[in-house]
């Protein structure tokens, strides 16, 4: 049975690099996630060292997903099935992390990964998703349920959820790890020279996108990469110590952009965790105290009327979920 009870307390999270990066921080892993807007060599090169690509998509058409590559039931790496709803983002991250050699990670994650050693994908999925601390880490960035929308039985947003697939190199081959497939999928070996696994991954992902009719696929790509901040800082300190100010200047720009990205993530994450009902209420009270609530309400009614009639004329459905 699917539906509301299948999430086992896992809440739907936003598929945003800031959310993933915060999760990685909680897991004690020195990696971050960045948006990937293109698969061209230059974009990929700027994100190196890159450990995995996460392809997330919502498929809109009802046609079945065609299969490329070959199931590898003997896949010796880490692969877990997605056994509960809403855990897909965290599960995809673990499917990637479990296959990165010599990865530094927090003790809880290290223990969890070790504990599942040798388990079949289904059991692994069950063990992972019944881990309380992991679920808490996952849920910490979903909107607070202080309004307890759950109890009100509002339309659930699971239908809109993305599906996550990880592509990464493992023992000389490109693998696709999809928690909804029975096995890891092997996409052949790749050439170690040049771009290495990324050139094979580009081919596979581009082919995959091409199998969907135009407009039938809503997708995005994320890159799981080494956190560049410590590297930049160390390099900068070295250059400055050596008095190479000109070279340092370029790095300062890089450092600033990384820092401002993190500030934005922290800002957005604090908004994600917060219950805004109090702010909504006091903003409305402020408007009323300033004698501006009535007029704002009248304008809002006009906007709603216009929206409904516009939607009507376009023949669109106003879906409020």
């Amino acid at each position: 049975m699917s539906g509301d009870d299948d999430s086992n307390g896992w809440q739907l999270t936003e598929s945003d690099p800031g959310v993933f990066s915060e999760l990685l921080k909680t897991l004690g892993v020195p990696l971050i996630v960045d948006d990937l807007y293109s698969l061209d060599s230059e974009s990929l090169a700027s994100l190196q060292p890159l450990h995995a690509l996460i392809f997330l998509f919502k498929w809109v058409s009802t046609s079945s997903d065609s299969m490329s590559g070959n199931y590898d039931p003997e896949f010796p790496g880490f692969f877990a099935h997605q056994v509960v709803n809403n855990a897909c983002a965290t599960l995809a991250v673990l499917n990637a992390l479990g296959n990165i050699p010599a990865l530094k990670s927090g003790s809880q994650l290290t223990q969890l990964l070790e504990f599942t050693n040798g388990m079949d994908p289904q059991t692994r999925g069950l063990v992972i998703t019944s881990s309380d601390w992991l679920r808490e880490a996952h849920n910490s960035l979903s909107p607070p349920s202080a309004i307890s929308l759950d109890g009100l039985g509002l339309p659930k947003q699971t239908e809109d959820a993305y599906h996550f697939v990880v592509y990464l190199p493992f023992m000389g081959s490109l693998y696709e790890l999809d928690g909804l497939k029975p096995h890891a999928v092997r996409h052949g070996s790749y050439n170690e020279t040049g771009e290495g696994w990324l050139s094979r991954a580009r081919e596979v992902i581009e082919n995959r996108i091409a199998t969907y009719p135009p407009g039938a696929l809503d997708f995005s790509l994320l890159a799981l990469r080494e956190d560049p901040l410590p590297l930049i800082q160390a390099e900068l300190a070295e250059l400055q110590a050596a008095g190479k100010q000109a070279e340092a200047a370029g790095l300062v720009v890089k450092l600033e952009s990384e820092t401002s990205k993190r500030n934005r993530w922290n800002f957005e994450n604090s908004l994600r965790r917060h219950n805004h009902v109090g702010l909504v209420h006091s903003l409305l009270v402020s408007l009323a105290k300033a004698g501006k609530l009535e007029s704002a309400k009248e304008r809002a009614k006009g906007i709603m009327k216009e929206r409904v009639s516009k939607a009507k004329s376009k023949g669109e459905v106003m879906d409020e979920s």
């Binding site: 309004i147 109090g278 709603m304 669109e316």
Partner: protein, 280 residues
């Protein structure tokens, strides 16, 4: 809005597509589909018969949606499809007998095509607007059904007993359209004294100290906008009496957006009286 708006109601549960697959799993919750006309808009609602809550409320525009049998699925699974979007909503018939499935489906499709459609009951010769139901099973119909209108009225009463005369689930005003940066920003300039009263309601772990600029950033952020949407939707259910009491508002304020705004207006007026603030 009374119950006069209900055009049609029948027992049906929801079904959900198993994420990432084409499998549709019926959810065991007992429910009913209601077609209602409110403010000249056709609503298709799904109501939980255990909790009596409307859990899904879709506004449908003429000839945009169709209600079809899912022939690939075993059992009595139906899908609500839209020509203007790729949304799908799945349902399954929960009446013990399938005898009247086709009749309900035909009438649903009648209303979906034209909200002024007149439901037609008890005639199996009704031309089907939905081709895929043509071969629907007519198995062993225990035809102990009473007169349809009475039965519907009874079901309706059952469905509405808890929420009763509660506010309509749709409002002609949305909080999102009130709490816009365009409405709020001028306030900060004209009434700077209000700004510090908002600070205690900001996230405690902001990476910067609160300031008017930070407030503006928050108000324009997608996270805040989506929180406003959730609250707006929750208010529309009319069931937030308990929650609004925590905001110092009467329970009545939790029954809808308009009552909420009215209560805030009077809260502000009484507070202004106490503070005797000299605002314009």
């Amino acid at each position: 809005m009374g119950d006069s708006g209900t055009l049609l109601a029948f027992k049906a549960g929801r079904a959900f597509r198993r994420e990432g697959t084409n499998f549709v799993d019926p959810s065991p919750a007992k429910g009913a589909i209601l077609l209602r006309k409110e403010d000249d808009l056709l609503h298709l609602m799904w109501k939980n018969r255990t909790s009596n809550e409307v859990e899904e409320d879709l506004i449908l525009f003429p000839s945009d949606a169709t209600f079809l049998k899912v022939s690939q699925a075993p059992g009595r699974v139906y899908v609500l499809k839209f020509s203007s979007s790729n949304q799908r909503h799945f349902f399954w018939m929960q009446d013990a007998s399938s005898a009247r499935d086709e009749e309900f489906v035909n009438n649903v499709n009648g209303f979906l095509m034209d909200p002024d459609y007149e439901a037609s009951w008890g005639s199996s010769s009704q031309p089907s607007t939905s081709t895929s139901t043509a071969g629907a099973s007519q198995s062993s119909a225990p035809s102990n059904f009473q007169a349809t209108p009475e039965q519907l009225a009874q079901l309706q009463q059952l469905l509405t007993s808890a929420v009763g005369s509660g506010a309509p689930p749709h409002s002609d005003v949305s909080l999102n359209d009130i709490l816009t940066p365009a409405n709020i920003t001028p306030l900060f300039t004209s009434h700077p004294d209000l700004i510090p009263t908002l600070f205690p309601h900001l996230p405690p772990d902001l990476p910067m100290p609160p300031s008017p600029e930070v407030l503006q950033r928050i108000i324009s952020s997608p996270q805040f906008r989506s929180a406003v949407s959730s609250f707006d939707q929750a208010l529309r259910t009319g069931l937030l009496g308990g929650l609004v009491r925590g905001l110092g508002l009467p329970e009545e304020a939790g029954t809808g957006i308009e009552p909420f705004l009215r209560a805030i207006q009077s809260q502000a007026e009484s507070e202004r009286g106490e503070d005797s603030m000299d605002t314009d």
